[in-house]
Symmetry: C2
DNA sequence: AGGCGTTGGTTACGCGTTTAAGCTAGGTTA
DNA sequence: TAACCTAGCTTAAACGCGTAACCAACGCCT
């Protein structure tokens, strides 16, 4: 009370005041099994601790025990939107139940060894990060510090080889669903959008590949033609770059009007698709009569647009089970490789 | 190398290997001013540190120095969406430049003393949290631990009295802009939407009050009538609850069709407005001819909808300055009370 | 030769916590 | 009576780091 600088209470303070040693305080406050402390002492210590507003010093504890309860989630763009927040929520709960604390770090712009070093500094039990932030050297550094690594990304390929746990999203499968749907709907000239932006581009490429595969078009057929599976008629899938702006959407639609309108569009995303839908309506194109449109993620936006947007949603069959598996990886029990979401078509009006 | 459990290198390891004392290593690695170490020794120490993959133990350091570089941002629903992420980005950068590390904690469900205790455990320099998570007792606990508190919320009232820094959003002013705009546009029967959901409701109430004020209607005029400012004709503002679902939007529009269509709607939000727009179009209502619609936040969604959604956007005049002020609060230099966003109307087609 | 300033370090301690090991008083057993 | 338990503590040693205080050796001046 009289001290100028308020110094938080320590177990030493409690010990003095309760007339016991610090060890006793520690035993009481941690309910250490095997410690023989009579109830009278216990309650005395506890009430003093309460009175002093004691709160244990996490740093000191982790310094002593050598391990922290911290799990670092390095913010990334790989998994985003409602899916990410749902996932984060489940994960956070699962970890908390096991005594871990999930902390989000970022937005992070550094990568590789430099990033790994800054993560390792806080000696977390595990790091969950986008695989674009991880390099072999960085992973090695973390492993040496006995920190588990979980790489999140589009493809588990590289990370898997490095022996870290992975969490992937099946963008290819998502694209396949969209491609197949469009072909079944009768589309023969499909346009697939790839975002120009850095991180999204990779995912766009994978989704594009998926659309091709779903539409029964050979991988490398650029803007060429392939044979539609089953139907026998020709299906083409062309790739188009677009930025996340209304102007870019209008420009792309302009290009289509010149070069010939596709009859089916996979907009990469609900958001990209929303912009495209607006631009198409502006151009007087009737959706879905002239152009069918499929988005992805199934966000609320789909239900705001008229016509309502058809979308491919990533469904998690059992979020809790996923969280549990990740917790396993965090504890170092196992190296897990998960891809816990299944793409499902949500058909609406476009 | 031969150790089973990989133990991260410490300065002691480096010291041994470089043939110097730990003090020297510390001096070198921290570039301690005033320490007289010749370049030869410096580089030797550094290379050994590199070789061993040394990374300083954040806990040990903060234990020693008594202060951590950690700033805790407790996730909340009060400030959300694109505004929040932009803000977080600026803040994170500003803090990093000053040597702080911003960490997001949450989603947090506990509150009061219990929450404060768990935050205090990691001895951060400051905690930034929604004011709905803070109680006087919790704030007191944090203050005793010499941790700065920044309360984020709709109204700085309560928190200000408790002597913590505040960061508020002028929801009332936002509503005012919307209300004034609708009246100027000729609307006389205005409907203002308030979300049913917990956290959003408070903000909805404030925005509603703003709409009333902007429309020149007395505060407590429920669904009664007031005198339009300047025009002399009567303006009414009615309040409507709605959930964030398409069904709820349709229901509300249904109510309007029965009770009489308003000629102006403030949808609380772009998202709520988007749902309403869809429902209105479904009902054959022409927007904006029959009903003018104003959202808020000015997210990309506005440019996807047709007609394009008019919105009130919160503009930050100087994000960096804001970040700097907050950093001041974090350092304990000053108790700041900020409301760094100005509502601005972005007129589009609705 | 003695005093002094500078260079290049080292020693020693404390931060708050956990935990293995020891110690004491009283009771039980041989 | 001595040896031996056991309950109920206490002592002391870490953990990794920062830093004030100290120290030896050397060059230089008087």
């Amino acid at each position: 009370m009289t001290s100028i600088r308020p110094r938080p209470a320590t177990i030493t303070d409690i010990a003095k005041r309760a007339g016991v040693s610090t060890a006793t305080v520690s035993y009481v406050l941690n309910d250490t099994p095997g410690a023989r402390i009579p109830e009278a002492t216990r309650s005395r210590v506890r009430s003093v601790a309460d009175e002093l507003g004691y709160v244990p010093h996490a740093s000191a504890r982790s310094l002593r025990t050598g391990s922290s309860d911290l799990v670092l989630y390095v913010q990334m763009d790989v998994v985003q939107g409602p899916l990410a927040s749902r996932f984060l929520h489940d994960l956070s709960r699962g970890l908390r139940e096991l005594g871990y604390t999930l902390m989000q770090y970022g937005p992070e712009r550094s990568r590789g060894v430099k990033a790994a070093r800054s993560w390792a500094g806080m000696r977390p039990s595990a790091v969950i990060a986008g695989d674009d932030r991880l390099t072999p050297a960085g992973i090695e550094l973390l492993r040496k510090a006995d920190i588990r690594v979980i790489a999140v990304g589009t493809s588990s390929g590289r990370a898997k080889e490095l022996g870290v746990s992975t969490l992937t999203m099946d963008h290819h499968g998502l694209g396949e669903i969209a491609g197949r749907h469009l072909v079944e709907r009768g589309c023969r000239d499909i346009a697939s959008v790839v975002p120009g932006q850095d991180v999204l581009r990779q995912m766009g490429e994978r989704r594009l590949a998926g659309v091709r595969s779903g539409a029964g078009v050979a991988e490398e057929s650029g803007s060429g033609a392939g044979v539609g599976s089953g139907t026998g008629s020709e299906v083409t899938v062309r790739r188009h770059d677009m930025d996340w702006t209304p102007e870019s959407a209008a420009e792309l639609v302009g290009t289509w009007l010149e070069e010939g309108l596709p009859d089916g569009v996979f907009g990469y995303n609900d958001e990209f698709s929303g912009l495209l839908l607006g631009a198409l309506v502006d151009a007087g194109v009737r959706v879905p009569e002239q152009v069918a449109l499929v988005g992805a993620d199934d966000v609320m936006l789909c239900q705001m647009l008229r016509p309502r947007l058809t979308s491919v949603r990533m469904e998690s069959e059992d979020p809790e089970a996923t969280a549990r598996r990740i917790v396993d990886a965090v504890r170092g029990r196992a190296e897990v490789h998960l891809s816990p979401w299944t793409p499902v078509l949500v058909q609406r009006e476009t």
